[in-house]
């Protein structure tokens, strides 16, 4: 009995030593990829990987001669092969679990992104917590080569900038992979993606000079939401329309807008809380949508003569803000209905929920129905606080 144990123990020990530990990767064998860019030239995909150089980025003094990130490119017939082809350039195999942002070029977006998305979803190393954006007016490769001040790793800057602007300014939307794929697949909502622009000189942006000058010559900026039909990009929304989109999809956490005062001048207010309910009804075979927006605001800047302590003024302001919001939302919907004729707001889903039988009839040509869809918007506004001073300076000047 004892003998058997000894033999078994020896066999197990030999097993561990001879088979080795497959799947074991030391940290310094990884090239940690933080951003991926995909372009298409002709039939071939060009993949750009922004890989971080940990020694340069570490909290301790990391030298300064090298850039904190490196980009590798490779071109092949599909993104998977391109990824593997990159090993001819990069010293280590790229490790893609920590991607924060995927940038798709506009040209590729216009041709269709489902191929890319399949690669991103199927690969076991990719997680689903990264944002996807479209590079507007430039290639993805160029967008990923720009160095950013303050945030050493450009991918982090792209991620946090998108996240923060979604929460604080609202004309951008952070779309993750799972949201994008479910929007593409669903018949009741078409996908959208935020656009990324390089403002300034690309040449300077790629060099260290960009971060050595005080007024950064070249910057990455998000601008506007791109409208997709199925998986192809068909157009862009401007800032106002993008805000409207976010109001409708209940994505606004905080934003700032302005209205004119009753006596001339402008007053800027901050949205603290926004809640939108979209309800669908089918009356006599005709669908219609009711949008109910509830806003809670604070007064931000007062640039006119107005008495904020008066409840009547506040009520008047509330009415004006309500009208403005209503017009923003309606304008956004009208523009999309006229120009693009795709339902990016998810009204189809709402109708589906309220009347599945009707939905089954129209789901295959919903976008045509969407063009004539009547939408009734109601905005309820409440102004809660006025900041830390009561009377404005204009008012007190006399």
């Amino acid at each position: 009995m004892k003998r058997r144990f000894i033999i078994l123990g020896i066999l197990i020990a030999i097993l561990i030593v001879s088979t080795g530990c497959w799947n074991r990767r030391e940290l310094n064998d990884l090239a940690i990829e933080l951003a991926m860019g995909i372009d298409k030239y002709g039939d071939q995909y060009r993949l750009t990987s922004q890989v971080v150089d940990p020694g340069e980025v570490a909290a301790r003094a990391g030298g300064g001669a090298r850039t904190p990130v490196i980009t590798y490119q490779a071109t092949a017939d599909n993104p998977f092969e391109a990824r593997r082809k990159m090993t001819t350039i990069s010293p280590r195999k790229i490790y893609a679990s920590h991607i924060r942002v995927v940038v798709i070029s506009e040209k590729l977006a216009k041709k269709g992104i489902s191929g890319i998305l399949d690669y991103l979803s199927r690969d076991h190393e990719h997680r689903t917590d990264f944002f996807i954006v479209v590079a507007k007016g430039t290639s993805a490769e160029n967008a990923l080569k720009i160095l950013t001040p303050l945030e050493k790793i450009p991918a982090n800057k792209l991620f946090s900038s998108l996240d923060t602007s979604e929460k604080a300014w609202a004309p951008t939307v952070g779309v993750t992979l799972d949201e994008l794929t479910s929007d593409i697949v669903s018949k009741g909502k078409q996908p959208v993606l935020t656009g990324l622009q390089v403002k300034g000189n690309q040449e300077i942006g790629e060099s260290k000079e960009n971060v050595e000058k005080l007024g950064t010559p070249s910057q990455l900026q998000y601008s506007g939401i791109g409208v997709f039909k199925e998986d192809k990009l068909i157009g862009w929304l401007n800032e106002k329309e993008s805000k409207g989109y976010n109001y409708i999809t209940d994505n606004v956490k905080s934003t700032v807008g302005h209205v004119t005062c009753p006596n001339g001048g402008e007053i800027a207010l901050e949205v603290m809380n926004s809640n939108t309910n979209v309800k669908g009804k089918v009356k006599h075979g005709n669908p219609q949508i009711d949008i109910d927006t509830n806003l809670e605001l604070n007064v931000g800047t007062v640039d006119c003569k107005i008495d904020l302590m008066n409840t009547k003024t506040i009520a008047e302001l509330e009415k004006r803000v309500g009208q403005k919001t209503k017009s923003t939302i309606e304008q956004a919907i009208n523009d999309v209905q006229e120009k693009y004729q795709v339902d990016i707001f998810g009204f189809g889903e709402v109708i589906h929920r309220s009347d599945p039988i009707y939905w089954k009839k129209v789901e295959n040509y919903w976008d045509q129905e969407f063009v004539d869809l009547p939408v009734h918007v109601k905005a309820n506004v409440k102004i809660r606080r006025v900041g830390t001073i009561g009377e404005s300076l204009e008012e007190g000047k006399e």
Partner: protein, 534 residues
């Protein structure tokens, strides 16, 4: 497959039969009537050892009877022997009384025992084996010429350490007494804590050559009688030539499983032993060591310290929770570090990953080798710190670890995170009050590190599962090792992870005492006095 066939076992060479024969002959050898022959026999067997003192005197003026007094120098109180044995036998006044009584026809030995020797502890001896055992234990032997019986008088006194502060299980609040090496001192310390007549003591002598005194103490009526029987059976089964420390007994009587976990508790503190006896446990005291064994023991006991009960209840509870957490940290941190950084990098948040990767740049060894090296270095430092003479010991372990770690990081041999992980592990392992559990954790940590390096988190999970299964299968003298977690006993939860205040500890652990479980009758929660009606 020939490996797995059983070979014929060779018959064991029985060398023990020889020594048995001489012992049997000793046993049968009774004392001789002639004193000179007895003295001859004693001197011969003891090889004329210089520290065995032989004193021959005569009593009675007319019919002189020779008396031989033997004692071991260093083990006896020589002055008392002079005053209370030799003096009365030699004095005149006593002799007159003696004469009177002898004329009435009683034998001298009986008379000496009853009237002459004013000593407390007198017993008879008839054979040589008992005589030698008693003589070498520090008793005094009185042999009379013409009598087959002798007297054994207890007058022991020797140098010992006395009652000092225990070295390992220190407390901030609580008694600072620790056991010493003398069995009698230890039993006295326990008696002082428990003055109940049901605290019984059974003595044994174990070890063929050393004949060490071993005492078993328990409180009859609270303890489970079967456990006491089992303890006695196992102690009687021991057939070894020497018992030098309670550790020998621990290894010889524990359950027959190969386990890294201790199934017998040992302590240097009388208050811990008293508390254990009150819960229905059995204490085994061994002469020559201050460490007393306690059986049966459960897993939760190794995480309890006497101090939990002397400080407030909430402090006790939180410190116990801290101990359990430290146990997990000490067991798992190097393994988790190795597993996650080599197999599961996707589990780390990105800034942490980049920071760790930055530290590993340029390090030549894989994480497992790094961890192994640092752990081994730390174990070496720890052992060195223990064996070094006192003044240098503390400095070596702390400063040495820090300096070595820092130098290794700066030389680029290990990464800084590894030093932190090893330091936290080591410090966590000092949190346990019981040293034998800390030893188990140290051993298991290396095994888990190997599993983590080969199979990642999967390996750690499998390792933990094996450990848990093993723990649940252990028993300590019939009590399941993992109670009250494994056979979940709700009423015992009050004293394992939590420590309810004294008014809540109303019963004893059920599986240990199994009867007489109620400790308090009316648990008196503190209440303000009732308001007087107006």
């Amino acid at each position: 497959m020939n490996f797995f066939k059983k070979r014929n076992k060779k018959p064991k060479h029985s060398s023990s039969t020889q020594s048995h024969q001489t012992e049997d002959s000793n046993k049968k050898k009774a004392l001789k009537t002639n004193l000179d022959e007895n003295i001859q026999q004693i001197k011969q067997t003891l090889g004329n050892s210089g520290d065995i003192i032989t004193r021959e005197i005569s009593i009675r003026k007319e019919e002189k009877i020779k008396v031989g007094i033997f004692y071991t120098d260093g083990l006896v109180d020589a002055k008392s022997i002079q005053d209370f044995i030799i003096e009365p036998l030699m004095s005149d006044s006593r002799e007159i009384e003696l004469e009177q009584k002898i004329s009435s026809g009683q034998d001298v030995l009986h008379l000496i025992k009853e009237f002459v020797l004013p000593v407390g502890d007198i017993q008879d001896v008839v054979d040589f084996e008992t005589l030698f055992t008693s003589l070498l234990s520090g008793n005094t032997i009185v042999l009379l010429d013409g009598y087959v019986q002798g007297l054994v008088i207890g007058m022991r006194e020797w140098e010992n350490r006395g009652v000092t502060e225990p070295s390992d299980q220190t407390v901030i609040r609580g008694p600072r007494e620790g056991f010493s090496e003398a069995l009698r001192t230890n039993t006295a310390l326990i008696r002082r804590k428990i003055k109940d007549p049901h605290l019984w003591l059974e003595s044994k002598k174990i070890g063929r050559v050393t004949k060490t005194d071993v005492a078993i103490m328990y409180i009859k009526g609270i303890v489970n009688d079967k456990v006491v029987e089992e303890v006695c059976t196992r102690l009687d089964r021991i057939d070894i030539d020497a018992i030098l420390e309670s550790g020998y007994i621990e290894e010889l009587i524990q359950e027959e499983t190969y386990t890294p976990f201790p199934t017998i508790y040992n302590t240097e503190r009388p208050d811990v032993v008293a508390a254990a006896l009150l819960e229905g446990r059995v204490a085994i005291l061994v002469d020559g060591t201050p460490f007393v064994l306690l059986v049966p023991v459960v897993f939760g006991q190794f995480f309890q310290s006497a101090e939990d009960y002397y400080q407030r209840a909430d402090f006790g509870t939180l410190i116990r929770l801290l101990r359990y957490v430290s146990f997990l940290i000490a067991l798992l941190s190097p393994s988790l570090y190795i597993a996650i950084t080599t197999f599961h990098q996707e589990m780390l948040p990105t800034p942490l990953l980049i920071s760790l990767a930055a530290q590993r740049e340029g390090v030549p060894f894989p994480a497992f080798i790094e961890a192994l090296m640092m752990e081994l270095t730390f174990e070496i430092l720890r052992e060195a710190g223990v064996r070094m003479p006192r003044p240098a010991g503390q400095a070596i372990s702390i400063v040495g670890a820090l300096v070595v770690g820092q130098a290794a990081v700066e030389a680029g041999i290990v990464s800084a995170v590894m030093v932190i992980v090893v330091a936290i592990t080591a410090i966590s392992s000092f949190v346990f009050p019981a040293f034998n559990m800390a030893i188990s954790v140290r051993i298991l940590r290396f095994i888990l590190m190997g599993l983590a390096a080969s199979f990642g988190l999967f390996g750690i999970t499998v390792g933990l599962l094996v450990i848990i299964l093993h723990l649940c299968s252990l028993r300590s003298f019939g009590v399941p090792y993992m109670s009250p977690f494994a056979p979940f006993i709700l009423s015992d939860q009050k004293d394992t992870i939590f420590r309810l205040p004294q008014w809540g500890l109303f019963s004893r652990p059920r599986l240990i005492s199994q009867k007489n479980v109620i400790r308090e009758n009316n648990p008196s929660t503190p209440k303000p006095p009732p308001r007087k009606a107006k």
